[in-house]
């Protein structure tokens, strides 16, 4: 088995250790004998987006995101179609915002997004920074997903959320929801990076991608003791005993 993981604009969108998500996906495939082909998609390396089994898009600086927006706009329809067709997409922070309709900055200027989804992000006073614990809506066990958020924008939408906030702020610090799910597309504010300490989510993404290509129902189990030791350490340190399980 083989999957193509498109790392979108890794030279421009590369904040907060998000590359660790690629490391997690790649290793967890390789440890099971699944070939993981990482494609660094960027200005100087444009590829056919229909070849992607998994898209991963992180966040970048304002300048980086500006460059990505103008370049990626021409792929808007193909990416929309791919997501509609069940392609797997993980978008984090700036990447999550970029998939939406627009971003309204501190001065009230409306900066267009790719418009794959119709949500809007608004800049509000104060950055939301800190450890986050959510309970996921994907039906994954354990229920908790841990991460670290660092964003000034607040996102409002009526899609399904990735989870409900136990600790931290999430989408906007108001409705206690974090992230979004649409078909196999996940948007989230969680860095950390999110996947290494949440191997259940990493495997969910890998399995969703494999299911579209192969007749497969589940993944071979891995020894995840170290992953959950790090996961549980965050719960112990930052969730005050809330949402502890296993």
């Amino acid at each position: 088995m083989k999957i193509n993981i498109f790392h979108m604009y890794p030279d421009l969108l590369n904040l907060y250790g998000d590359i660790g998500n690629i490391t997690s996906l790649k290793k967890r495939c390789e440890w099971r004998g699944i070939e993981a082909n990482i494609v660094d998609f960027s200005l100087s390396n444009e590829r056919d987006v229909n070849d992607a089994d998994i898209f991963f898009m992180g966040g970048g600086s304002d300048r980086g995101q500006g460059i990505v927006y103008s370049h990626f706009l021409k792929y808007k329809n193909s990416v929309s179609d791919a997501i509609e067709d069940g392609s797997v997409f993980l978008a984090i922070c700036g990447g999550y915002q970029l998939l939406g309709e627009s971003y309204i900055d501190a001065d009230g200027n409306k900066i267009p997004g790719l418009g794959v989804f119709d949500y809007t992000t608004e800049s509000e006073e104060g950055r939301l920074i800190g450890n986050v614990v959510i309970e996921n809506n994907l039906g994954l066990k354990p229920k908790t997903i841990v991460g670290f958020e660092n964003h000034g924008g607040r996102t409002y939408h009526s899609y399904n959320a990735l989870g409900s906030v136990v600790v931290g702020n999430g989408n906007n610090g108001k409705d206690r929801l974090e992230g979004m799910i649409y078909k196999n597309c996940i948007g989230t504010y969680l860095h950390g990076p999110i996947l290494p300490k949440n191997p259940h989510l990493s495997d969910h993404i890998i399995l969703s991608a494999l299911k579209r290509k192969y007749d497969i129902k589940e993944l071979e189990k891995l020894d995840d003791n170290q992953e959950y030791a790090a996961h549980n350490n965050v719960l112990e340190l930052y969730s005050d005993g809330r949402s502890k399980e296993q």
Partner: protein
Amino acid sequence: MNATALPGKVALRINPELLSTLNSRCKKKVIITGTNGKTTTNNLINHILHSEYDDVLSNLRGANMAQGVASAFLNDTKKEYDWGVFEVDEGSFPNIVKYLKPDYVVITNFFRDQLDRFGEIENTSKIVYEALKPLETTLILNADDPMVSKFKDLNKKNVYYGVEKSRFSTLDQRVVESRFCPVCTNSLDYEYFNYGQLGKYVCSQCGFENPEYDYKITSIKYSEDAYHFKIDNSGKIHDVIFRYDGIYNAYNCCAAIAFSIEAGLDMEKVTQRIENFEYKLGRMENIEFKNKMVKIVLVKNPIGLSEVLKSISNDQRRKSILFILNDNPADGTDVSWIWDADVEVIHNIKNLKSVHCAGIRAQDIALRLKYAEYTDKIVEIDKNIEDSIETVLAEDVDIVYILPTYTAVYQTRDIIMGHLNQTSARIPRLREIIKSKIGN
């Protein structure tokens, strides 16, 4: 957290003009700012200036926000100083230079560090750039960092330093912070990288490139636990030996030399001081412990960690490594940076007997090692720092590398010093240290 900054914080509240007083009591001032290398460069410059001047004031322990700079003064109150040498955090730079007017500003580099405080990388250099505009000062600029060399358009008196291509240079770099032209945002072409985005670059679109060096380091070699290199000041060449690891230290030395010569010191004397420099404050310290060596090196961001691991791979001795990862505010509460670091270079380290992980986020660094597929040796995890240090000190190796984050540095040092006091161990070259303190 940052204990060395506390006394100053209290004092600054009482007298917000303390920095102005500090300004008027120092005849000349130099400020060192940038992401990495501030504390080392500060300590080097302080050490060099002491060869010529009696009264030099510095915030040597690396407390570099407004309070920390002021605490330097509280610990050492004289009427007048020949020199004030201050390392200043990039974020605090604008506030500090409102009161403290530097004759020289050394800018080391701009990397990703504690983004949870500053937001994003480009903001950091912009903060310093804007604050420099009204100042009358000489800039000592790292020519090899495009984020720093672009400061030339401030049209101050500019002095450029850098490090030429060596066997430590690479053609590619995993951790590249900003490979884009700071002038026109086109992507930069690199002939080689020394580390991070530091190297020889040119923009094919607007022609932006390394300015010509006033001071450059050439012919770097590593032997007998020290770096040997030459400093070339516009054709005048001198040999330099520095006992601390890493290409990043060649940059720190070059910055300190460039400043010192510009400030009127003699090159012979300067290189001599570099050679007998001893780090005494735990951020980067060599301690003899029984029949082994213990090296403590502060790690706080991806570039730093990658470079430290790379430099350890030059060491052939039998060794252990202890990582200590904390996530207190002074460390940066976000530990995700360990995933940006090139931890995979640990595979190049020879004669590595064991690896230990400690600190509040010990599990995170252990997980990072798992994904670097470091499975050759057992990675031991024990959050308790004291226990981990004791375990590693008891191992049968020639050298122990301890890599702590900020808040763990002083704790580590205190624990080791506590052990030292109970044994016959000693700090190397103790005589030289005493000499440098009391004079010859």
